[in-house]
């Protein structure tokens, strides 16, 4: 039997992720690239890169699902599914016993309640940067650090400094004042991680936290935030090897399910345009 392939593309506010799987659900290719203003238009390039890696042509991809903020303007997708459903599916593949998934992305954070691998409830925060990766992106330069260095730095903290402000802009002012007070850098960073974790944890608690808990999104790569979240939720938190990919992986898996369901029912698969072209913008679509 000729293997068939499914692709998921997750266009987030900061990063665009593509995953291609085969019909045994093995990942044959994965690409993570910056979204940016122009990259959004060029989502097809990221997909081409993923195809190149796997040695596949676009025609060999049976089904494409687009997700994330940029999901609307992807001409080569057969279907659009929210990042909520896709993340839940991707996380359940990583850990089938998951009941709560927390995703801290560049623009929003969300908590997903999952039962038997399916999304059953969720909360999202996207009004304010304070519980997101942007909070750390804004504050890192103030501390003279790169975002990637924050996690390790905070693990060297000897005490925790309470960052009282939950607002990114005021948080920056508070950090500047702590620096001028001579507080150690690592203690301040640990305080920032606590602030982000407590904000996300209180959002997640609205869903009544039940283990197992999985953390995904770019911020999951920050070991300091993960540690603070473990302490705040008082439970173990599992992190996939590549926490950025759960949305794209979930999209690819849902694509496979869509095709199988149609085949089982003997119905034709509902397809989108399935053309590997540049994405258009919202106003051009609507």
């Amino acid at each position: 039997m000729v293997p068939i392939y499914f692709a998921g593309i997750d266009i987030g506010s900061t990063m665009t992720k593509v995953v291609i799987i085969d019909d045994d659900e093995n990942i044959v290719s994965q690409v993570i690239s910056h979204t940016g203003a122009e990259h959004r238009r060029l989502a097809n390039k990221v997909t081409e890169e993923a195809l190149k890696q796997s040695g596949l042509s676009f025609d060999e991809i049976s089904y494409v699902i687009a997700t994330g903020y940029g999901r609307i303007n992807v001409p080569f997708a057969d279907r659009q599914v929210t990042e909520l459903t896709c993340h839940a599916r991707g996380v359940a593949k990583f850990l089938p016993s998951v009941r709560l998934a927390i995703d801290i992305g560049g623009q929003d954070s969300k908590a997903l309640k999952i039962k038997d691998g399916k999304l059953i409830d969720f909360v999202m925060s996207d009004k304010c940067a304070a519980g997101t990766g942007r909070f750390l992106e804004v504050l890192a330069p103030t501390l003279g650090l790169r975002v990637e260095e924050l996690g390790e730095t905070s693990l060297r903290a000897t005490k925790k400094i309470k960052i009282s402000s939950t607002c990114t802009v005021f948080g920056q002012q508070e950090v500047v004042s702590l620096l001028s007070d001579g507080e150690p850098l690592e203690d301040i960073v640990a305080g920032l991680h606590d602030a982000i974790a407590s904000r996300v944890a209180s959002m997640a608690r609205r869903l009544k936290v039940e283990p197992d808990v999985v953390l995904t999104g770019g911020v999951a790569k920050n070991s300091g935030v993960a540690k603070a979240l473990r302490e705040s939720l008082k439970c173990e938190i599992f992190i996939p090897d590549e926490p950025l990919l759960s949305g794209a992986l979930g999209a690819a898996l849902l694509g496979k399910e869509t095709v199988l369901e149609a085949l089982e029912k003997g119905e034709p698969v509902k397809r989108g345009e399935h053309r590997l072209e540049e994405a258009t913008f919202f106003d051009q679509v609507e």
Partner: protein, 390 residues
Amino acid sequence: MVNAAGTGLIRVKEIYRNREQRVKELKAEGKTIIGYLCIYPVLEMLTALDLVPYRMFGDMDETITSADDYLPTMVCPFLRSVLDLGIKGKYGFLDGVVMAHICDVGARTSHIWDVAVKTPYSHFIDVPHTDRKISRERLKELLQDFQETLEIFTGKKLTPAGLKESIELHNRQRAMVRELYDLKKPDPPLISGTETLQVMIAINSIPVEEGNNLLKEVISEVKERGDDVPKKSARLLVWGPVIDDIALIEMIESLDATVVMDDTCVGSRDFFADVPLTDDPLDGLAYRYLEELKCPRTFRESNTDGVHRGYKADLEARFGYLGDYAKEWNVNGAILQVPRYCDSHGYEVPQLKDYFEQISLPNIYLEHDYSKAALAPLKTRVQGLTEIIG
């Protein structure tokens, strides 16, 4: 789409686009126009005295500027918007206003109105917040007080017979609205959520008798419809306070969802309970406005005799009617929509979510900014709900 046989829905859309046109015409004819906020001012008393009630709304497209001089920015954006429009002179055609203690901000808005806007007549009804017998007696006294101020303002006497006649007229409107909502029970419904809201806003903008004629036309038109409303997977119940613009419902219905039922205060909430005709009409009014109107501004619990019956019984006492709606309208998901800082509805959300979980109804909580521009990010949440429903 409109049935060729009737013009009811066309008229509805005209009124929706230009709400104040009819009352301005009536004012030019010498009628007295009384603005009111929310569903607690007793309209039956206004109609009985030949006053024209006009529901006051905000404007999601108008940036709030002038109201910030009087109300803090972290309170209900709807009430801030209403006050803002008042200060900017957009309610200049009103001869008076009636407001009630819906919430603290609503109460203050009433008092600030007298300072910042001023209308020849104004009255504030301090409606009690529990549904106990003593509160009902108190509300009756407050309605007597309201009646006296209206009589002084109009120079007319409000007779029990006149009031009863007005109650019957308003009850007729309520029955017709329920008839319209019955047309939302089939799948697909005969009228969409967006159209329903337009109808409700229209009848909140014209005298009750004209509203009844309009409803009659709309109902017969909608009954004759074919497949005007598309079939969608999600049949939703929308809960929350005032929705005075179709933007939110339109956004929901642009997805795989139809709003088939609501419990909002421009929608069904004010129309699903009649005023009983009692010997003293004020008894029936006090009963209906306090016990039958299911708004979170009135505290309701199963403990009416000092005996606590537990959380489940409390949830049933507070939200059981929503479970009935869900069954009757074959609802498979709910949206709890609340404009930011609406405390009285916000307080209900955790318990209401528990209740919906108890009856296995998927639901989401949508907090919004009372601004059309801020609706776009909410679309993902609504789409997420439709995906949960499947």
